[in-house]
Amino acid sequence: MKRHSTTLVHSIGGFDKNLRDLSESHKYNPTVRNKTANPVDLDGEDHMKQTQYAIEAEDLTRKFGNLVAVDHINFKVQEGELWGLLGPNGAGKTTTVKMLCGLLTPTDGTAKVEGRDIQKEVREIRKLIGVCPQEPTVYERLTGKENVKLIGQMHKVPKAELKKKADELLERIGLTERADDQVITYSGGMKRRLDLIMALVHDPPILFLDEPTLGLDPAVRRAVWDFILELKERKKTIVMTTHYMEEADELCDRVAIIDYGKIIEEGSPEKLKEKVGRGDRIEMEFSGDAEAAIKQLKRLKFIKTVAAAENRLVIVAEAGVLRLGEIIKTTSRAGTVGRTSLSENTLEDVFLHLTGRRLR
């Protein structure tokens, strides 16, 4: 399932270099890590219990007036893991990240980042994290290089080291030629890439990437994915929020699905998809008695799951390609079947299965 689009990445320019070279050249690290990054066994719960956690949340809750944005969520993120928070807009993803970064105080519960309490040791935590906010957050009247340097200065990266790092990172994302131009002249994709390296200039062990590819065109999105995967290779602990199921599927070691402030399922993308049922995914437009259609389809032995949403039926079936005719015939007894498509099972199906709604 994991794939790299090398051809596309090449087209971005400079985005295809191996980040490990960069990592080796970065000698400055403001943190003394007392834990060793462990190989990530994503599916083994027993193994997880023995590992060190970069982030642990316990009953983490945040209310805004009567609105419960984040509702007593519990999760653990291993060191070196790429952990995704997948959910629709307004599910509580950004609020969760803001609490972990110390930008919002929890109403209830708590969390620890590298063993430090997010309420009591927020200053220490800020030395350990790099944050890429949801919207491009850059000073438009500063140049790209000045923006990168500013964040480095806030982290007190020594001057000579900072210059070197800024140059290297800008080269890495293909912005060297535009490094001295004011950001106001950059495209949205360029700003997003700049945003990412601003989170990296002090070489933090933990990264928070809040919807890192929101609004990007497919080519730039693919390039950003590649960049994130390379960060993962450097054993960075990454917490990434997204509402793109394919992004979570492609990048994340483990995914927590959040809806209305609650984590409703957690596991590796493969495990989550298994829960819905292995097989082919058939999506069909349907008008008629959906309940009757579901009832009849469930009688077929090869049907794994059936869900109805927005005048559509989503069916997961073993060898669905071969049995498509039978499925359509059975469904037609309860109504009219329209356009039908066949694909692999996705996290979208998991979300649909869990909530009865689509992610987007």
Binding site: K98, C101, G102, L103, R123, R126, K127, I129, V131, P133, E135, T137, V138, Y139, R141, L142, E146, L150, I151, Q153, M154, H155, K156, Q182, M198, F208
Partner: protein, 362 residues
């Protein structure tokens, strides 16, 4: 401290690269000073003052001669009070003097009637100040006639409207810092830049100190530019005894800097309460304009109530201090009451601003 300096440098870069900001902070004051220069250049404005001299003794003739020698007054003789009154009511003369028989400098209070057209604030200030000054000079220690208000500080020089307006332009320019502070902070907050910086080890105090430093640099640049442009259009600060012009100008820089701190404090309070940048800009001008109109920036506040109200604005203290120093040649120590008042205002405003900003923003 290093972090705050880095933030101040960042602020200055972003402000200087934004043409709209640059216009408001530096272009507008320069333009205003040039306009003030055009409007108040020495020699171009004279006020006609009619008089009836029923005394015709040597003292009264000397009084009239001295008034006529003042560059801003043109004395016109009237044979009787009725024609003087008629000319005044027609607007041909801006003021009238009736000197009774038996005039001497010490009896001016009983023998001189003086009336001024109050509809022109600048004319009335200029004429009153000049006549008062000359009358006082002639009378020695005697107080001038009660028809006109004595100046805040005893003066021995004639009123110069350009000096008055130049100082007003300077304090107005510095007061724009309320806008630039409010706007820049609200913009950083709106765009998530402040939040992003807060994910780093930067503290809120670093952020606010950076903002203060950059605004003080701006205020010093504004002051230097205003002095340069005002000098070009004819403003000549007056040196106090034993002090040269440079010392007096440096003293004015100190006052401008303290005013800048007070304005940053006011700006922080507004930024704390404003919900977005647009609201912040609107509120800041809602504060700057009354500050400009009621604190003696362009004219002295009239009436006891407005004089009391004027002390609510930091520009009042600055106007009085800088005018005393530059327009009347007073040494810095002689205006220490205004300086202390301004400094206390600045400290309180900044502390309140910081407290509100922390409470409302974090």
């Amino acid at each position: 401290m290093v972090t705050a300096v880095n933030l101040a440098v960042k602020n200055l870069k972003t402000m200087f690269r934004d043409k709209i900001y640059l216009f408001f902070l530096l272009g507008l004051p320069i333009m205003m000073m040039l306009l003030v220069g055009l409007a108040f250049t020495e020699g171009t404005t004279t006020y006609s003052v009619g008089y009836v001299n029923n005394d015709n003794g040597p003292f009264s003739q000397m009084f009239i001669t001295l008034l006529n020698n003042a560059s801003i007054l043109k004395m016109i003789n009237f044979s009787d009070v009725d024609s003087l009154d008629e000319s005044f009511r027609q607007g041909n003369i801006a003021a009238g003097l009736i000197i009774d028989e038996g005039y001497s400098p010490t009896t001016a209070n009983e023998t001189v009637t003086f009336f001024v057209d109050e509809s022109s604030v600048s004319a009335s200030i200029a004429i009153k100040s000049t006549v008062t000054a000359i009358s006082s000079t002639l009378a020695g220690d005697s107080k001038p006639k009660e028809y006109w208000k004595p100046p805040d500080e005893p003066i021995s020089v004639e009123f110069n409207p350009l000096n008055f307006m130049a100082v007003g332009t300077l304090t107005y320019s510095v007061s724009i810092i309320v806008f630039s502070t409010t706007s820049s902070i609200a913009k950083e907050r709106d765009k998530g830049l402040f939040s992003r910086l807060r994910t780093t080890p930067m503290t809120t105090l670093d952020f606010l100190a950076g903002s203060l430093m950059s605004q003080i640099v701006i205020s010093l640049m504004q002051t230097a530019l205003i002095f340069a442009v005002s000098y070009l259009v004819g403003f000549r600060p007056l040196g106090a005894t034993g002090m040269d012009m440079t010392v007096n100008m440096l003293a004015a820089f100190v006052v401008a800097m303290i005013l800048a701190v007070a304005c940053v404090g006011v700006g922080l309070v507004i930024a704390a309460f404003a919900k977005n940048e647009d609201q912040a800009v609107g509120i800041s001008w809602f504060v700057i304009i009354p500050m400009m109109f009621l604190s003696g920036t362009w004219w002295e506040p009239q009436g006891a109530t407005m004089k009391t109200v004027s002390w609510a604005f930091p520009t009042t203290y600055a106007n009085k201090a800088i005018r005393a120093i530059l327009a009347r040649g007073a040494p810095l120590l002689s205006v220490s009451n205004f300086l202390v008042g301004l400094a206390i205002y600045a400290i309180i405003a900044f502390m309140v601003g910081v407290a509100f900003f922390r409470k409302k923003t974090i």
